[in-house]
Amino acid sequence: MPKIEVPENIFFHLLGKKMTDDELVDIFPVAKAELDGHDKENSVIKIELNDTNRPDLWSAAGVARALKCYESGVIPHYDFFSTADDEKPSDGRMVIDDESAIGIRDYSIGFAARGKTVDNDLLVNLIQSQEKLCTNFGRKRKTIAMGIYRSELIKYPVHYAAVDPDKTKFVPLGMDEELSLREICAKHPKGKEYGHIVSSFPRFPYLYDDNGDTLSFPPVINSARIGAVEIGDSDFFIEVSGPILDDLLLAVSILACDMSDMGFEILPVKCRFAKDTPYGREITVPYYFQKPATASLELVHHKLGEELSAEECIKALQKMGVHAAVSGEEITIQVPEYRNDFLHGVDIVEDIMIGHGLASFAPVMPADFTIGRLSPVEEFSRKVKGILVGLGFQEMMYNYLGSRREYIDNMHVTGDDAVFIANPMSENYEVIRPSVLPCLLESESVSGHAVYPHNIFEIGKITVKDAEDNSGTRTIDSLGFFSSNVAVGYNDAASYINTLMYFLRKDYTLSEAGDDPRFIPGRAAAIIYKGEKVGVFGETHPQVLESWGCSMPSIMAEIDLDKLMM
């Protein structure tokens, strides 16, 4: 979930009033936001945003806009958006995408802003909005990278192309020397972090002005001159690059609306693409690209369980910043410039729900009669647990992920049937347990201080390879039990098994366990039920006990309950 930190003064200025923490806690849910903290010393409000499909809310301006609109019912109007039919003047500002970037990072678009001198708070806030969009919405700059530049240094048009990474050089932000694009990937901190996005291509994206001065190496780093925005600047060019045009248009719209709310004048920029797009070859940005969305009144009534009138729906949507009209049974909305999250009518329904006020919907119990029922394995497991508890065993519960050392090496097995994780976070959690027994032995190894005998068991899941299954694996509901004490032996294990099977009404036979390194040879048996091996038990091999650092003799058993249930 994105979290933002906003200076109080900026937030309350955007909101148009001051609010107490309690008031914020009450109103925040309409923007799916939570007050995450309030650092009174530094006058910073911390906000957590829960809607990962609403990047417009991941900024102070976005949250303030949603709250203000909810309270006033007045939808903000932004006059700088061009449409297919209405192109705003761009006064010579232009970005030209070169076809060399196609297939590498297809688009670069931008807009300019001026009229407000940035101070420290504003600059930090602007960079935070940029970062949230690029990191969370733009998947760590993969699909959206954004640069902010000093507009007065730029000679338009700005050119976007893919260039030779070894021949193209400039001084990157944060450094003094000129480096090639490839050198930046290797040496610059941002190059190390983001260079991998483009480094597999023969040419790298590059942004420069009509004088040939570098703006940036998207998505990695700005230049040290045009790309070095500082406190006191007031004229900016904002550029966004990436492979998905709609995402770029949305990111630009969000930032333009935010900056407009903060008092900037937004200056459109003409963008010429190197390939055909649904909006043509040339558009003026910010550009309103969203199509109207619809939902039937019937859908609203059916989902919400409340016969809201057309007027109530329109009013509710208005509080959510959405223009709506109802014609017959159909609600049609005009999607706000900074949103693109209306995929289905149900998305409109939710806005109506929030706008109308969740508290106004009274809880009603579902009326359908249904029968409650445990899963067969849960029912069977409860029987087994009852018997084992009666036999004096303590039920345990374990994690299912562990290390090769615990699950395989210490057990002296090959581990051929174990299911490993391809991307373990650490070697402590690199394999799903193929058996309950290592878990029981871990208990033994850490419980030398506990009074003997140690009689423990667990019923839980294990996973082993199984070529016949669609997944190549099988998850098994498994019973494992373990008993350690002076002079415990095979006969004890056999007696436990016999007692368990008697009360479960399972007729079984035993056969030689064969070559199982976990048990003392000749003191282990396989349990055969309905002609199939369902389990194994016997005296724990001292080599296993030694590996676990245990010195008390023990017996152990494991049974496949899925097979035993049949």
Partner: protein, 512 residues
């Protein structure tokens, strides 16, 4: 000190009843008066001293001479000197070896006895080198005889009771160590004298008042029942607050019991349990839930991938085609879809189930309408393991399918969970966000102990989730954060503790 007289041992009771304030209490007295053996005396003294009923008033060291087996035989058969004197008196002069052989004495013993008797003029060696009577038997021998006789009557002699002559006479007959061949063993003894304390007097009074004699029955034996012997006495009352011994029972795990309780609650509310394998694929883990394949929660850093096999063999139709089309363009769901090209290889990639909702999606393909389903299922999350994050953990999830279920029913359902399962005092609903539900609701509750917290998330499944899986009817989906309540229930504050391997900790853990 408060003493529960019912807790006193019979040895203590009888002793207390036997003694009075101001009297000297010694082992000798108790042994003689109550018939206690030395060990019993010591037990009674040490227990009563520890309870403050007795105090030591003096401790005296003394030396005693204890008659050995040799000494006892000598007392009966005579001292060597006595026997030699009497033999010569009856049989006339004999040579030394003859005497030794006739009396079965060691030659050295005969030699030393003759030495003593001749020096006192009782015997003499004649010209034929035979011993013969010369006078009366020596006084020393008479004294030794009297010592032996005295010792035989008392079993030991106190050094303080001997005269100087007697001390002199006993010396050659006594040894400290290796004394078995000597008539006397020398021993050092300590005499301890106790007095009854004020507490002791009080306790004695209480014993008398409670009519406890120390002769009460202890353990009831089968013989006592068979013979009816129990009718002839009373039973010693036991102290009901005596410390108990620790028992280690076979027991359920407290966390597992809590989860069972949650399951039973849900069963009672009409839900049917579902379950499934730990290894899933991207299709069910994300695609079927309408999470776009590029969604940030599906990153390599958020899900565990299975190393081998990397891919599932296949994804069942028609689900695969319908879900893929829904992602691309909305299919027949009325959605515009996510507008990207669905990756048919990625969808088969195998992962460890990362959310319980996966099983709800599976359930849709086999659900009855109306239907209510739930699962308490293990999930895996790519997180650093700490007090609030486990590598694997339980999620409690479920769905409600019905022709007309709606938001108000969802709120009703959440209210029921809040009250029945969490014991909530107040319930608050706020809009939430989940990729697979719209609308989405979070339920916050005011818990009597924990205060306000988020109990769970819920919503109405998006048509993009239900319709490609064959469900036309609305589906309410919910998940509850059970672990937080489980920790409180068990008095823990670290999630890792729920799965501890420590046997002692599990044995002693209990729910509220």
């Amino acid at each position: 000190m408060d003493i529960d007289v019912k807790n006193l041992h019979p040895l203590e009771v009888k002793l207390l009843r036997y003694v009075n304030a101001g009297e000297d209490i010694t082992e000798e007295r108790i042994a003689n008066g109550l018939g206690y053996k030395t060990g019993q005396c010591n037990q009674a003294f040490s227990w009563l001293s520890a309870k403050g009923c007795l105090e030591e008033v003096s401790r005296t060291k003394r030396t005693i001479y204890e008659l050995t087996d040799t000494g006892r035989a000598m007392q009966k058969e005579g001292l060597p000197a006595e026997r030699i004197y009497s033999f010569l008196k009856d049989n006339g002069p004999h040579a030394m070896p003859e005497i030794a052989s006739a009396l079965s004495l060691e030659k050295s013993d005969v030699g030393s006895a003759f030495g003593l008797l001749s020096s006192k003029g009782s015997l003499k060696m004649n010209d034929e080198r035979k011993a013969e009577i010369a006078g009366e038997i020596a006084d020393e021998v008479k004294i030794q005889r009297s010592i032996l006789d005295k010792a035989a009557a008392a079993s030991f002699l106190d050094e303080s009771s001997l005269s100087d002559e007697e001390k002199k006479a006993i010396a050659p007959l006594s040894k400290k160590r290796g004394a078995s061949s000597s008539p006397f063993r020398i021993q050092e003894r300590e005499d301890v004298v106790y007095h009854l304390t004020a507490d002791g007097e009080k306790t004695k009074d209480a014993v008398i008042k409670a009519n406890i004699t120390g002769e009460e029955f202890g353990v009831l034996t089968p013989q006592m029942i068979q013979t009816g012997a129990w009718k002839n006495g009373t039973f010693r009352p036991y102290g009901i607050n005596a410390p108990t011994s620790r028992l280690i029972p076979g027991r359920r795990n407290a966390y597992s019991e809590y989860l069972q309780w949650v399951k039973d609650k849900l069963i009672s509310l009409g839900f049917e349990e579902f379950d499934g394998p730990l290894v899933e694929n991207e299709f069910w883990n994300g695609d079927a839930l309408f999470m776009p394949q590029f969604h940030s929660a599906r990153d390599i850093h958020d899900v565990y991938y299975v190393k081998d096999p990397v891919h599932a063999k296949q994804i069942d139709e028609p689900w695969l085609s319908q879900v893929a089309a829904t992602h691309e363009n909305g299919w027949q769901t009325g959605s515009r879809g996510w507008g990207y090209t669905f990756d048919h290889e990625f969808t088969r990639r195998q992962v460890l189930r990362s959310q319980g909702t996966v099983l709800s999606a599976h359930q849709l393909t086999k659900a009855h309408v109306p239907g209510k389903y739930f699962g308490v299922v293990r999930c895996f999350r790519y997180d650093q393991v700490d007090a609030t994050h486990g590598a694997d953990f339980y999620q409690t999830e479920g769905i409600v399918i019905g022709k007309d279920v709606n938001l108000k029913n969802l709120l009703g359902l959440l209210k029921m969970f809040a009250e029945e399962i969490a014991g909530a005092e107040e319930v608050k609903y706020v809009p939430g966000y989940f990729p697979f539900t719209e609308p989405s609701i979070e339920v916050h509750i005011k818990h009597p102990v924990l205060g306000w917290f988020e109990l769970g998330g819920s919503g109405i499944f998006r048509p993009e989730v239900t319709e490609p899986l064959g469900i036309k009817e609305p589906v309410l989906a919910w998940g509850l954060g059970i672990d937080r309540m489980a920790l409180m229930h068990l008095g823990l504050n670290d999630l890792r503790e729920l799965f501890t391997p420590d046997i002692e900790s599990v044995r002693t853990r209990r729910g509220n």
